[in-house]
Symmetry: C2
Subunit: 252 residues, 2 copies
DNA sequence: GCTTGACCTTGACGTAGCGTCAACGTCTCT
DNA sequence: AGAGACGTTGACGCTACGTCAAGGTCAAGC
């Protein structure tokens, strides 16, 4: 029997057979004068054994180990581990399908919808497009949602909830518009101070406390998170936030 | 922000970030004078987006496609396919776990137990070790079980069932012993003819018909399956089978 | 000034289980 | 004698990175 016949008999490709030779799973048979491998029935039996184990899901390394110790002991162990592993996979897949179902149920599906469901709702309520600044804010929140610890994330979500009420929402959109409007102004523009005050007034008390705690200002109001926003903010907008945080820090 | 900070912020390794650059998933940021990559918040936002999609199970290629068309249309499609794929995986895993559970329930677990459950039962009943020849026969059956079509396999199993009854079983073991005993004899030994007759008599009628049909003998009794068994059989044993098949062919 | 250690750079190789050429030899059929 | 179906070894490709290797950069401590 040559390699093609053997492969066809057991239902694998010739490459598979050669691969198993390479890994030492199947002994190399005798060669004919022309160099062709000459297989016997025993080889087919061994190959079929390997395939059955492989189809159960064992790795080829595991199969070699199992076939090496001719007791069934190791096989039972390996199959037990495999079953446990499959159980874990089932759980993981079920969880992912649950998330997928939740996502597919959303009418406004887009890549940023793949944050946590709660955050997705807040985003939808808060940022009804239109403002360049709202997009930046939205980016920050999605980033926080994916990187922060679940506990911290939930805390932020709780603090944000008051801002999604209709009145606060309208006020928020007005503030975004004013942030857009002040973009090209100089940091000394009178609108900057005014906007900082309104912005600070719009932030609920507990949220202000949290912000001041988690975003400690340097001596001269130099805040790392403001620096990180880098080219997203114009100088005037940066100044608005600097002043707003200073007001919030005094309030707590 | 340098690559390490970015990676830590989003929760991936620096290699992952570079890998995404290589694939074009994440644009290469500006470089500092020393050649270091300098990231901005936007990069973190994009990276987080990629990660969220990757954790849903999308391939990196799919993610690139999804982020390329900025409508949510393709995303919905891809997620739908992904869900269908996961459903298939769930079924496959459930089936494999069922097989594993059946296997782990067997007290006599060994690699050859991983044939179909019915065949495993037949093997346990028929081949209570001891005979070199029984092992060969057993190998043949396991091979057939893994390579044959399910229908053919079930047919063979049905035909074999009469052989597992206690009386037939005892007779079978005796025949195996005699096949072992005749191993070193010459093909002309009187025991050969006698054993061939007893062996043919032991095969139930329908099974004989099936064998003759599926193992057509050549003009001079040269059977390919006998040839395939090659070095497993001694000349005398080969002769036993040749004669037995001739008897069965005459009987049908 | 020198070392140490933590970071960064590019490039190449390894993972699992084969599939898929490439470049070539062998056998059978017509 | 040519075609077509087989066989041989060897090397590269696939996913999503991990893991060296061989260096360059930078801040801190001696």
């Amino acid at each position: 029997m040559r390699i093609g016949e053997l492969a066809a008999l057991v239902g694998v490709s010739t490459q598979t057979v050669r691969h198993y030779h390479h890994l030492g799973l199947l002994p190399e048979p005798a060669r004919l004068a022309n160099g062709y491998r000459e297989y016997r029935l025993r080889d087919a039996v061994v190959l079929a054994r390997v395939r059955r184990l492989a189809e159960l899901g064992l790795s080829l390394d595991e199969i070699r180990d199992v076939l090496a110790d001719d007791q069934g002991r190791e096989l039972r162990e390996v199959l037990g581990e495999l079953d446990a592993d499959l159980a874990r996979q089932q759980d993981a897949i079920a969880a992912r399908r649950a998330r997928l179902a939740a996502l597919l149920a959303r009418p406004d599906l887009e890549p940023d919808s793949t944050v946590s469901p709660e955050m997705a709702d807040v985003l939808r309520d808060l940022y009804a497009a239109g403002s360049r600044f709202a997009e930046v804010d939205r980016d920050l929140l999605t980033l926080m949602d994916t990187t922060a610890e679940p506990a911290a994330r939930d805390a932020v979500l709780d603090l944000m909830r008051p801002l999604t009420e209709p009145a606060a929402l309208a006020r928020g959109h007005e503030l975004y518009a004013r942030l857009d409007a002040v973009a090209g102004a100089s940091p000394g523009d009178p609108r900057v101070t005014e906007l900082a005050a309104d912005l600070a007034a719009h932030i609920p008390g507990e949220m202000a406390a949290a912000m001041v705690e988690h975003l400690p200002a340097g001596e001269d109001g130099d805040q790392p998170w403001l620096e990180m926003m880098g080219d997203e903010l114009t100088p005037a907008q940066t100044e608005v936030f600097r002043q707003a945080v200073r007001i919030l820090a005094g309030r707590t």
